[in-house]
């Protein structure tokens, strides 16, 4: 939680700095012609957008971070840790700010978050077999979320044909560590897609 707060703080700070700097520029270059005013206005708008995207991404990045921690717990066959991290993820999913996405994207994000939260909550109270069942759908939800929110990190979508008729998940590392089988088949799977 602390790190999330800190990262929100940092993003807010950066956003304020960008805005102040661009406002200063605007003042300095107070141009007589209306045409250049428009250009400056545009610049300010774009820097504002950038700052907003940053804070939005911060929440999506926090969700991803919790997802990867959960994945690592499952890779390590750690039922208790996965329970705890499922709870953490359920909380951070609730914090995603959807306000600046288009209406259809907002609707889809709402559906994704609702579904993902339910799976994360189940993970926080199940045995490891059930945790993995829920993690499968959770992975699909998170993948669909990233398709909308984007991410700064390079991600690998990995796929294991051995689990439940073929199952995918996301990882930040290229080498395969299987969260569905854990130590019994740690390296089963391959990278099927790179994101970013």
């Amino acid at each position: 939680m602390k790190t999330i707060k800190r990262s929100i703080g940092t993003v807010a700070l950066v956003a304020t700095m960008i805005l102040t700097v661009s406002c200063k520029d605007a003042n300095k270059n107070e141009a007589p012609s209306s045409a250049s005013n428009e250009v400056i206005q545009e610049n300010m708008d774009s820097s504002k957008n950038m700052a907003m995207n940053n804070s939005q991404n911060a929440m999506a990045e926090a969700i991803l971070k919790d997802y990867f921690n959960l994945k690592d717990a499952l890779v390590g066959d750690d039922n208790d840790k996965a329970k705890m991290l499922g709870g953490t993820l359920a909380k951070s999913l609730g914090n995603l700010d959807k306000s600046t996405y288009s209406e259809s994207q907002q609707k889809e994000l709402t559906d994704i978050i609702e579904d993902a939260t339910e799976h994360a909550e189940h993970i926080s109270e199940s045995d490891i077999k059930h945790q993995r069942e829920h993690f499968k759908i959770l992975s699909k939800d998170i993948t669909d979320m990233v398709a909308i929110t984007g991410t700064a990190t390079k991600l690998y979508e990995q796929f294991c044909p051995m689990y439940d008729g073929g199952t995918a998940w996301l990882s930040t590392k290229e080498e395969v560590r299987n969260p569905y089988h854990g130590s019994s088949m740690l390296k089963c799977g391959k990278v099927q897609r790179e994101i970013n």
Binding site: D111, E114, D115, E118, H119, E133, I137, D141
Partner: protein, 151 residues
């Protein structure tokens, strides 16, 4: 012997006292238009099976057994029904997004396959709720088709 008698009296008295705490019952005599059976084409055989095996805890209408009027059984049932409906309420089916429908259908398949649902504590009394291997197959085939029909 005296002690035993005292305990028996206390137990009897508390049993009588808790009878005066009734619980809200999960009963509704209308089926909402969002119900699973109304929005999907469900073969009669499967409809009956699901209603007998699932609807007591996964809908707004429970067909209560006789002992449901006696405490503490009523409390026990109430908790189970509340939990069951939170997980899945067939009456609310079309209110779920497609994504959640798929999730729910998948969970239904997993739960039936593994025999976790219907619960042992339920089938102990409701013998007709037990799904035979063949029942399981028929229901799972249907649910799988339904799941695959959602984009």
């Amino acid at each position: 012997m005296k002690v035993f008698k005292a305990i028996a009296w206390i137990a009897l008295i508390s049993f009588v006292v808790i009878q005066f705490f009734p619980t809200d019952r999960n009963e509704s005599y209308t089926t909402p238009t969002t119900d699973f059976m109304l929005v999907n084409k469900v073969p009669t055989e499967i409809e009956n099976q699901l209603k007998v095996s699932c609807y007591d805890c996964h809908s707004n209408n429970t067909v209560y057994p006789w002992y449901s009027k006696i405490q503490p059984a009523a409390w026990f049932l109430k908790d189970h029904i509340k939990e069951g409906k939170a997980e899945l309420n067939f009456n609310e089916w079309s209110n779920y997004s497609d994504r959640r429908k798929k999730s729910k259908l998948r969970s239904i398949i997993k739960q039936i396959e593994s025999g976790e649902m219907p619960m042992d504590s339920y089938t102990l009394i409701h013998k007709d709720a037990i799904l035979s291997e063949n029942d399981k197959k028929v229901v799972i085939d249907f649910i799988t088709k339904l799941k695959d029909s959602i984009k």
